[in-house]
């Protein structure tokens, strides 16, 4: 049971009687929950512990009597909805168990709910786990007196590519619409019509514009898009930011490269009319009215086996329920974890799991045939032998660089860290197969590694103010976004964002923009506005992924935290990043926050690992590993789940893979690395191994192996490889890496130094701003066309004034080309209130692979030109 009420010790208790039993509950407790305390289940449909009470379905009626002023307990004339009424002292409540009135009322409502319900349970996805089915059996009557004509609807309607609605099954409890408005802030569905014709449906945002927190503003005429730019650096009002989110997309979309199943309805700004959180509506629908396209008609709940899971996508660490049948995952649901994701997750976490079961799944080790140059399937012992020999040779010939990637469990990351030091005798290891900087590593060593559980979701919820520095919570850490929104809606919370423009997510947080040119985040963090934002005690600063490309930002953030007393947390984008920091998968960092540069730390670890000494030479970071391999200095590469296109310079990464004389790839699926590998060792995806992620909070998120599988984890493969080399690293078994890391304890010695500030002047005409969208071209979203259909379309964004300088004309639709000497990207232009001289691109959306096309990142100089003119609407 989710207890939404505050803990009992701190609050006033109210004593009442339910069905003759006295119970004390915290003041403000709803009757329906007070009854739960006694184990009395009152039937309900619209009630949901995390949604505001609605009292709409009337299923939960009970008899209530209350003491009047003289203390005489007087019955209320009508039965009351127990989901909306709070307990008061001396109340006498009779549920269906003791009150014939309540029993009759509930039976009556149940009968009325069923008169128009199709009773197609045998073909309904919900059959077997359906609150209506279950409660009709428990509290309804065996036979219906309804012999008249049922209401029917054509079935089903498509709400988005991934959500379908069978209206005749809907009992209009409004859980879905309330979730969408209250929790996600995306009113992509709402009630329409009335009476028995009332139904859930999609509306155009024009109709829905009456919502105060409407994230889709109405299309403005081009007249209103006159180049006017207020370059305010602080506190845009809600209305201004509303305008800011409006995508007046002026160009046309090129066909994009990702297969989607069906077209999502587009809203008036050309974006799919959808929500990143729509899957939750399916999960909380108490009937089978909302179903997921990917799961519809695929299984019956009673044929599924459920395992606990933890989401492998972002650093949120959301609890999952993984439902599988005959060795295949059939669906994933958000599991309940009040400390982390409450009962929600994002659509990526729910639906993006087919990536590991596609045709490119690696099942056998592969070794490149020296004759043909082709990869051939071989036995494990042979593959290990070839890999071990090759790695040893490379080690002696200049060294092996290790790129484990950012998606590993703690145990697997630890195995890479140990393997690098003990077997390959190098510190050339860096999990950051993405943009990175020395300043970031220094920051991670100084302020993140070995700090344990720090800022938590609960702390975020309680904080009076949260400053998002280079973090787009809705896109990059969806559960953080939901928790922030929850507390924003509760009242006093303020959210600030250091970004060039107010994203839709920020608007849904009623946030204020500290408008910042990319690369100038350090200045913004040092500004009076930022100090003001976190002035209130208990404030929190969240540092997002793109700060790594912003010189001085980490140092400025530490300074701001020190001067204001605000707490800091680092929110990386991938599930494995925080764990990899802890495991020591960085060139300057050993496990538990031990600096490589500290001789005592090295001695400590050498003793723990039972080796004479550890390499004292500080390692190369990912970029320098790539450079050294490309230059032939490093002879070998050991690569985990890395997509070269995520690297700061994908072409350089490919060149390194090409040049390195020996490449070992540990991968779930054939990837771009496979083509360069000499030995490919298949590893298990999360569902086929157990493990632990460390989420952004620093919380251990342990999950068991869901599916029976003979696939090995990265740690197990590395352990075997070490044995083959003749070194015993003792990491067989899924949790042994995690356990060994835990046994080492945290480093108690001196912390790594604070990061140094290097200012790099930005040259060139236009500054690139970029971050990743929640749904994009990421490889972990492959094979899910329904999900892909709701991704936001890629647009380029510029201020109207900058666009006007390019020659964008009023009323003329325009595509713009962002280019540099490496390549170019052409996208429709969305005029956006943002600093002049800045262009924004989504990092990895269809049509916008920023890294592989431009090898550029946040804050880099690029050029922009007009790609072509078309008359609007032509």
């Amino acid at each position: 049971m989710t207890v939404t009420e505050p803990s009992k010790t701190a609050v006033d208790l109210v004593t009442l009687t339910i069905d003759g039993i006295e119970v004390s509950v915290p003041k403000g407790t709803l009757l329906i929950r007070a009854a739960e305390e006694l184990g009395i289940a009152i039937p309900r449909f619209c009630d949901h512990p995390l949604l505001a009470p609605a009292g709409a379905c009337r299923q939960c009626l009970v008899e209530v009597a209350m003491p009047d002023r003289e203390g005489n307990v007087r019955p209320m004339p009508k039965p009351q909805a127990s989901c909306t009424m709070t307990a008061t002292p001396g109340m006498v409540v009779k549920t269906q168990l003791t009150s014939p009135v309540s029993e009759k009322a509930q039976r009556g409502v149940m009968e009325l709910l069923l008169i128009n319900h199709p009773l197609d349970c045998p073909v309904c996805d919900k059959g077997g786990e359906c609150p209506l089915q279950n409660q009709a059996l428990a509290n309804g009557q065996g036979e219906s007196r309804f012999t008249e004509v049922k209401r029917t609807f054509p079935k089903p309607i498509r709400i988005s590519t991934q959500v379908l609605l069978d209206r005749e099954r809907c009992i209009l409890c409004q859980r879905c619409t309330r979730f969408s408005k209250e929790i996600a802030g995306d009113p992509f569905i709402d009630l329409q019509m009335r009476g028995a014709h009332q139904q859930i449906g999609t509306f155009s945002p024009g109709v829905l514009d009456f919502h105060v927190d409407l994230p889709y503003p109405v299309v403005r005429t081009s007249e209103e898009l006159e180049p006017t730019v207020e370059s305010q650096t602080q506190g845009s009002t809600k209305d201004e930011s509303r305008g800011a989110s409006h995508d007046h997309v002026t160009g046309t979309y090129a066909a994009d490269g990702i297969a989607t199943r069906g077209e999502a309805m587009l809203d008036e700004s050309g974006q799919p009319f959808a929500s990143y959180f729509s899957g939750n509506t399916i999960q909380i629908c108490p009937v089978g009215a909302l179903t997921g396209a990917a799961y519809r008609f695929r299984a019956r709940p009673f044929d599924l086996v459920s395992s606990k899971g933890v989401c492998e996508h972002c650093a949120g660490g959301c609890a999952l329920r993984v439902d599988h049948r005959r060795g295949k995952v059939a669906r994933r649901l958000a599991a309940e974890d009040s400390a982390v994701n409450e009962e929600w997750n994002c659509d990526k976490g729910r639906w993006a799991f087919t990536w590991s079961t596609g045709a490119d799944r690696l099942t056998h080790p592969l070794v490149r045939d020296p004759e043909t140059g082709e990869l051939e399937p071989v036995s494990w012992p042979y593959a290990l032998e070839v890999a071990a020999k090759g790695l040893l040779k490379a080690r002696e010939a200049g060294g092996v660089g290790v790129l484990p990637g950012g998606r590993l469990t703690v145990g697997d990351a630890y195995a890479y860290a140990k393997f690098a030091r003990v077997v390959l005798r190098t510190n050339d290891i860096d999990f950051r197969s993405r943009a990175h900087s020395a300043e970031e590593e220094a920051f991670l060593s100084h302020a993140v590694a070995g700090t344990g559980l720090g800022v938590t979701y609960a702390a975020l919820e309680a904080a009076p103010s949260v400053l998002l520095a280079g973090l787009e919570a809705e896109e990059e850490a969806a559960s953080v976004f939901l928790r922030l929104r929850k507390s924003v809606l509760k009242g006093s919370k303020k959210v600030y964002s250091i970004a060039p423009w107010a994203s839709r997510g920020l608007i849904k947080l009623s946030g204020s923009l500290l408008q910042t040119v990319p690369g100038q985040e350090a200045t913004a963090l040092g500004s009076a506005a930022a100090a003001e934002a976190v002035a209130e005690p208990g404030s929190i600063i969240l540092l997002g992924p793109r700060l790594t490309e912003s010189p001085g930002a980490y140092q400025a953030a530490l300074a701001l935290a020190a001067s204001s007393g605000a707490r800091l947390a680092w929110v990386p984008r991938r599930a494995g990043e925080r764990g990899a920091v802890e495991a020591g998968a960085l060139p300057g960092l050993l496990p538990g926050g031990r600096p490589v540069s500290d001789p005592a730390a090295r001695v400590d670890m050498a003793a723990a690992w039972d080796v004479e000494s550890l390499p004292s030479q500080p390692g190369r970071d990912a970029t320098r590993i790539v450079d050294a391999a490309a230059a032939g200095v490093l002879a070998g590469l050991l690569v985990g789940g890395v997509d070269p296109d995520d690297m700061p310079d994908p072409a350089a990464a490919r060149a390194a893979l090409e040049t390195a004389s020996f490449v070992v790839s540990l991968e779930v699926r054939a990837s771009a690395v496979t083509a360069y590998a000499d030995v490919v060792l298949p590893v298990a995806p999360p569902a086929e191994k157990g493990g632990t992620y460390l989420n952004w909070e620093g919380r251990h998120r342990e999950f068991p192996q869901a599916l029976t599988s003979d696939a090995l984890s990265d740690g197990e493969v590395l352990d075997s490889l070490a044995s083959e080399v003749g070194v015993w690293i003792g990491l067989r078994g899924e949790l042994s890496g995690t356990a060994e890391l835990a046994s080492l304890g945290r480093w108690e010695g001196a912390k790594a130094d604070r990061p140094e500030h290097h200012t790099v002047p930005v040259a060139g005409t236009t500054v690139l701003s970029t971050w990743s969208m929640l749904l994009d071209r990421g490889r972990l979203q492959d094979g899910e066309p329904y999900l892909a259909g709701t991704a936001h379309r890629a647009v380029a964004r510029m201020s109207p004034a900058t666009a006007a300088q390019l020659g964008v004309q009023k009323g003329i639709s325009s595509n713009v080309t962002v280019f540099n000497d490496r390549g170019e990207i052409t996208l429709p232009l969305a005029l956006t209130p943002m600093p002049d001289g800045v262009v924004w691109l989504p990092s990895n959306s269809p049509g916008s692979p920023v890294r592989s096309k431009l090898a550029a990142g946040n804050g880099d100089a690029v050029s922009v030109r007009l790609a072509g003119d078309q008359l609007m609407g032509a």
Binding site: G55, A56, G108, V109, L112, E148, G195, A196, F210
Partner: protein, 440 residues
């Protein structure tokens, strides 16, 4: 306490006093007849005294529920410097109810003056009149009336030099019965879907735009100037002890002169029918509603029930909106009840299960009964469905939907059964029309 001797009741035209004048709706006509004297008086009083005067008068809400108006005003929390609102319910959509619309057509300034006084009393600067959308002519008239009042300095900044700023916004709804329910009205006024809100919080605490709000019926507010002008005791001297004052009794149906009869509360239907020239020639009373279709129907048995809140309640119905729909013996009660039920099914907002699904079902059962299909046991089923709606629905719309059915089965069960016996309706619907016999 039973009153044995009763004075014969006469009409008490107050709000309808000048309806016969040419262009009675103009400000000029209103002022000529003493209009806006009450406002001057009220502005000289403290807000508390105005509330006290209305409390003392015994004025009870004229929108149906009869809640004491002054008491409702006194529920507003202390002013905190932020806005508070008066919202006037002019949605008038209850079948049979037709008092507010004629009043606003004939003498809209009563409402305007009442609204200004009420704003003063509750310290609001803005009043909204939520008008049912279909009555475009009334909308125009109200807009005009507000303009005239503003031009004369009764509205706008510094009303009559009092230093107070009071203004009125006239809002036309989109035509939904549920938007007469006060919280659905507020949602609709805010631009949302008109469905009732969960209470608490009550409008007095968090109403329009979540600010303290008083919601009153048109007639309630229009009665306020007369209370201030003539004094509380004048008002409480009219009507009965607990149902003070006068009100419109809207006679419609088979009487000779249907229309608005402004009379003290406590008048009987017998007296009203007399005033209306009696029943249609050659016909006799069969059934009637005391306060619109949502109030259980009465029969000739109830001709002498005093039409006040208490007596109608004691007799098993409600005073409601004093919409007296009068049906003679030519009318099939099943047919009338089915039409009403179709109205409720059409107007059910859809929010709650009992009303949404229940009215859908009731219509089907009644249609079969009207056509003589079904069995006698269907009547019990009908009553049980009503029992599952009454007191179980979210708002009073669902309750109201059951009234005509339960009361008609109670009084006319045999007539329902006759439909089954005869395999159809035993009545000739033409006979109940005004043109009955014209072509015969």
């Amino acid at each position: 306490m039973t009153e044995t001797v009763r004075e014969p009741v006469t009409l008490t035209p107050v709000l309808s006093k000048h309806w016969n004048e040419a262009e009675s709706w103009t400000l000029e006509s209103y002022e000529r007849n003493g209009g806006y004297q009450a406002l001057r008086k009220a502005l000289a009083m403290t807000p508390e005294d105005v509330v006290g005067a209305v409390k003392d008068s015994g004025l009870r809400g004229r929108g149906g529920a009869g809640f004491p108006t002054g008491l409702k005003w006194s529920f507003l929390p202390k002013p905190d410097g932020n806005p508070r609102y008066l919202v006037i319910n002019a949605d008038e959509s209850e079948p049979g109810t037709c008092k507010d619309i004629p009043l606003m057509m004939a003498t809209p300034q009563y409402l305007i003056e009442g609204a200004i006084i009420t704003c003063h009393a509750i310290r609001a600067e803005r009043a909204f009149i939520y008008l049912r959308g279909e009555v475009v002519h009334v909308y125009r008239r109200l807009l005009q009336a507000v303009e005239e009042a503003r031009a004369a300095g009764y509205l706008g900044e510094n009303v009559l030099g009092s230093g107070q700023n009071i203004d009125i916004v006239v809002h036309a709804g989109a035509g939904a019965y549920i938007c007469g329910e006060e919280t659905a009205l507020l949602d609709s006024l805010e631009g949302r879907r008109g469905q009732p809100r969960l209470k608490p919080p009550f409008p007095a605490v968090a109403g329009l735009y979540a600010r303290p709000t008083v919601v009153n019926n048109v007639e309630s507010i229009a009665s306020v100037p007369s209370v201030i002008d003539n004094g509380s005791s004048w008002f409480s001297g009219l009507g009965t002890a607990k149902s003070a004052g006068f009100g419109f009794f809207s006679l419609s149906g088979h009487v000779k002169r249907p229309g608005q009869y402004e009379a003290p509360l406590g008048i009987t239907l017998r007296e009203l029918i007399d005033m209306a020239g009696g029943m249609r020639e050659g016909h006799e009373l069969k059934f009637w509603t005391p306060g619109g279709s949502s109030t259980p129907m009465f029969t000739a048995e109830h001709l002498d029930v005093p039409l006040d809140f208490e007596s109608t309640g004691a007799a098993g119905s409600m005073l409601g909106t004093r919409a007296l729909q009068i049906f003679d013996e030519t009318v099939c009660v099943v047919r009338a009840v089915l039409r009403w039920t179709e109205f409720y099914a059409h107007e059910s907002c859809g929010k709650c299960t009992p009303c949404r699904e229940g009215t859908y079902w009731l219509v089907q059962v009644l249609r079969q009964l009207e056509n003589g299909q079904g069995q006698p046991s269907d009547l019990d089923r009908l009553l049980d469905i009503c029992d599952n709606i009454l007191g179980r629905s979210f708002c009073a719309l669902g309750d109201g939907a059951t009234s005509p059915i339960s009361s008609s089965v109670q009084h006319f069960r045999d007539e329902y059964l006759r439909h089954l016996d005869e395999g159809g309706c035993p009545f000739d619907p033409v006979k109940s029309t005004l043109f009955a016999g014209v072509n015969a």
